[in-house]
Amino acid sequence: MGLMDILLIIIPSTLLWAAPLILTALGGIFSERSGVVNIGLEGLMVIGAFTAIVFNLSTVDTLGNMTPWVALLVAMAAGAVFSMLHAVASITFRADHTVSGVAINLLAVGVTLFLVKLIYDKGQTDIIQEGFSKIDIPVLSSIPVIGDLFFSNTYWTSYVAIIIAIIVWFVIYKTPFGLRLRSVGEHPMAADTMGINVTKMRYIGVILSGALGGLGGAVYAQSISSDFSHATISGQGFMALAAMIFGKWHPLGAMGAAIFFGFAQSLSIIGKSLPFLENIPNVYLLIAPYVLTILALTGFIGRADAPKASGTHYIKGSR
C-alpha cells in the first residue's frame, strides 16, 4: 500500500471517529469555561444518541432524508434539557460538580435503557434506515490530492463538527458573550462586580454543553452505531473529556486532540495493512492510541490549567 492509499483510508476514518468527540469536547469547554466541571459528558452523549435514534425511527416515514438532521436538533434539545439537572444541582443547589456529573452519567444510562424497554419492550432499538452516509463534498472534493484526501468518502457530520469548533472558538474568544463566559469561569466575583450575572452565565454554559454533548451522541448514533443499546456510548464521553483537557480547554485545541485520538485509533486498526506495522503484535496496536496520548501529554503538552474557578461555587458575598 502506498502512502496515498494509507492516507485515503486513515483520514476519513480519523474524521469519522473524531466528529462526536469534537462536538462533545466543545460542550465540555462551554461548561468548564463557565466554571462548572462537567464529567457528565458521557451521560449527555447517551441522551443525545438515544433521542436521535428514537426520533429517527419514529419520524423517518414523514421526514424522509431530512430525518437525521432534524434528529440532531431534537437530540441537542434533549441534551440541553437533561443538562439542566446538572446546572440546577451544581449551580443552584451547590452540589459538588463531580458528584453531580457522575449522577448525570448513571441517570442517563438508567433512564434511556428504561425507556427503551418501556417503548420497544426490548433492550435495544432497531437499526435506523436513514442515517448519515458517506459523501464527496461538492466542489471541494474535486481539488486535486487534497480533495481526495480530505473531502471524499467522508461524512457531512465531520465537517459540521469542525465548523462548529471554529464557531465556538470565535464565540468564546471574539464576542462579548465569550469574554463574559470566561470571566465567570476565571473569577466569578470580578465578573459579578462588573454587573455580569454569574448564575445566568453558568446556566448557559452548562446548557450549551448539554446541547453539544447531545449533538455528539446523536452524530455518533446516526453515523456509526445506527441503533441504541447499552453499549452504544461506552467511554466516548470520557475520551471527549480527555480531549478537552488535552486541548487545554481551547476549542481548536480540543478539536486537534479529538482528531489526534481518531488518528491514533485509525492507525491502530489500519496498522495491520502497513508494511512497517504488520508484524507488531496486535496488543501493541490496540493500546497505541492511549499510550500515545499519555506520551504526548508528558512530552510536549505538559501542564494544563483548568479555568481557575472551575469546580467552585459562587456564593455572593463570600470570599
Binding site: L106, G110, I287, G302
Partner: protein
C-alpha cells in the same frame, strides 16, 4: 439540631427522596411500585442466599470506593480504579494458578500481588502528575483502556494457550469459604469482606490519625503551603495514588480470588471501578461512609436482578434510583437548608 444529626439525616433523606421519585417513575410507567420494591427487597434480603450475594457484591464496592475516596481526600481524582482493579484481578489469579504453596503463604501472596499490581498501575499517573504536572484524569482514563487490552493479551498468552479464560485458581489461593457458603445456601460470600472492612479502618487510620495522612491531605489542599512546611509534595502525590491503587488492586483480588476464582478476557469494563466513584461520593469520601454506601449500592444492585423476574420491571429502574440518590446527596445544601427551615418552624 446538631450538625451530627444533620450529617446523618441528609443521606437518609436523599435515599428516601430517591425512592420516592423511583416510585413516581414506576407508577407513571404503569408498573406496580409496591410489587417492584417487594421484589427489590426480596432480591436482596428475602433469602440468606441473596443476602450473601449482597455482601459479596459489597466487598469490591467498598474497596473500589475507598480507592476513589482516598485519592479524592488528597486532592486527586482517580478515574483509573477500573484499570487498577483489572490488573489486580489478573495478578491475583496469576499467582493463584501458577504456584503450588501452602494456603498461609499462597493466599496472602496472591492478595499482595493484586495490591502491588494496582499500586503499580496507579503509580504511573501519580508519577506523571508529580513530575510533569500531567492531569491525572486523562492518564487514568487512558490507563484503563491499556489495562483492558494488556490483561486480555496476558490471559490469552500467559495464563492460557489462546483461550479466553485462565484456569481456576488453586484452593490454597482462594478466598472462598465453605463456612459462609453453608451459612448462606451457597452464595459466593467469601472472606474478602473482612479484608474490605479492615481496609476501611486502615484508610480512616491513615488519613485521620497518622502524620502521613496529615501530609497527604495537606498536599491535596495546598501544595505550596505543604512545600513550605517541609513536606515532599511530589512523593506525597505519588504515594497517594499508590495507596489508592492498592485498594483498587485489592478490589480486583476480591473478584479473582473470591467471586470468580479465575479471570477471563473482557470485552468491556467491569463497571465496579466506576461504581466506586459513586460509592465514594455517596459516602462523603470517608471510610465509614464508603462502607455504608457500598452496602446500599450492593443491596440495590443485587436486589434489582430480581425485579424483572418477580415484578416485570426493568432493572434499570434501580440505576435511576441510585443516580437520583447521588444527586440528592450532592445537593445536600438544599436539603440542609430545608431541615434548617423545618426545625426552626418546629421551635416556633
Amino acid at each position: 439540631m446538631s450538625n451530627r444529626t444533620k450529617n446523618i439525616l441528609v443521606p437518609v433523606i436523599a435515599v428516601l427522596l430517591g425512592i420516592l421519585v423511583g416510585t413516581i417513575i414506576m407508577v407513571a410507567s404503569g408498573y406496580d411500585a409496591a410489587a417492584g420494591y417487594t421484589a427489590l427487597w426480596n432480591g436482596a434480603f428475602g433469602d440468606v442466599y441473596f443476602t450473601g450475594e449482597v455482601i459479596r457484591q459489597v466487598t469490591p464496592y467498598i474497596l473500589a470506593g475507598l480507592a476513589v475516596a482516598f485519592a479524592f481526600r488528597t486532592g486527586l481524582f482517580n478515574i483509573g480504579v477500573e484499570g487498577q482493579l483489572i490488573v489486580g484481578w489478573l495478578a491475583a489469579v496469576w499467582v493463584g494458578v501458577s504456584f503450588d504453596l501452602p494456603k498461609v503463604i499462597h493466599l496472602p501472596l496472591a492478595i499482595l500481588a493484586a495490591a502491588a499490581a494496582g499500586a503499580l498501575w496507579a503509580f504511573i499517573p501519580g508519577y506523571l502528575k508529580a513530575k510533569f504536572r500531567v492531569h491525572e484524569v486523562i492518564v487514568t482514563i487512558m490507563m484503563n483502556y491499556v489495562a483492558l487490552h494488556v490483561t486480555n493479551n496476558v490471559i490469552r498468552t500467559v495464563l492460557s494457550e489462546g483461550k479466553e479464560r485462565s484456569e481456576n485458581i488453586a484452593d490454597t489461593a482462594s478466598l472462598r469459604s465453605p463456612f459462609f457458603e453453608g451459612l448462606t445456601e451457597y452464595s459466593r460470600l467469601h472472606w474478602g469482606i473482612f479484608i474490605a472492612v479492615i481496609c476501611a479502618i486502615l484508610m480512616w487510620f491513615i488519613l485521620e490519625k497518622t502524620t502521613k495522612g496529615f501530609e497527604l491531605r495537606a498536599v491535596g489542599f495546598n501544595e505550596h503551603a505543604s512545600q513550605y512546611a517541609g513536606m515532599n509534595v511530589k512523593n506525597n502525590i505519588i504515594l497517594s495514588m499508590v495507596i489508592s491503587g492498592t485498594f483498587a488492586g485489592l478490589a480486583g483480588a476480591m473478584e479473582g480470588l473470591g467471586t470468580f476464582g479465575y479471570t477471563a478476557i473482557k470485552s468491556g469494563f467491569t463497571g465496579v471501578g466506576f461504581d466506586g466513584i459513586a460509592v465514594a461520593l455517596l459516602g462523603g469520601n470517608t471510610a465509614i461512609g464508603v462502607v455504608l454506601a457500598a452496602f446500599l449500592f450492593g443491596s440495590l444492585k443485587v436486589g434489582a436482578l430480581n425485579m424483572p423476574l418477580e415484578a416485570g420491571i426493568p432493572n434499570e429502574l434501580v440505576d435511576i434510583i441510585i443516580a437520583l440518590i447521588i444527586f440528592f446527596v450532592a445537593s445536600s445544601y438544599i436539603i440542609r437548608w430545608f431541615i434548617q427551615r423545618m426545625s426552626k418552624k418546629g421551635v416556633k
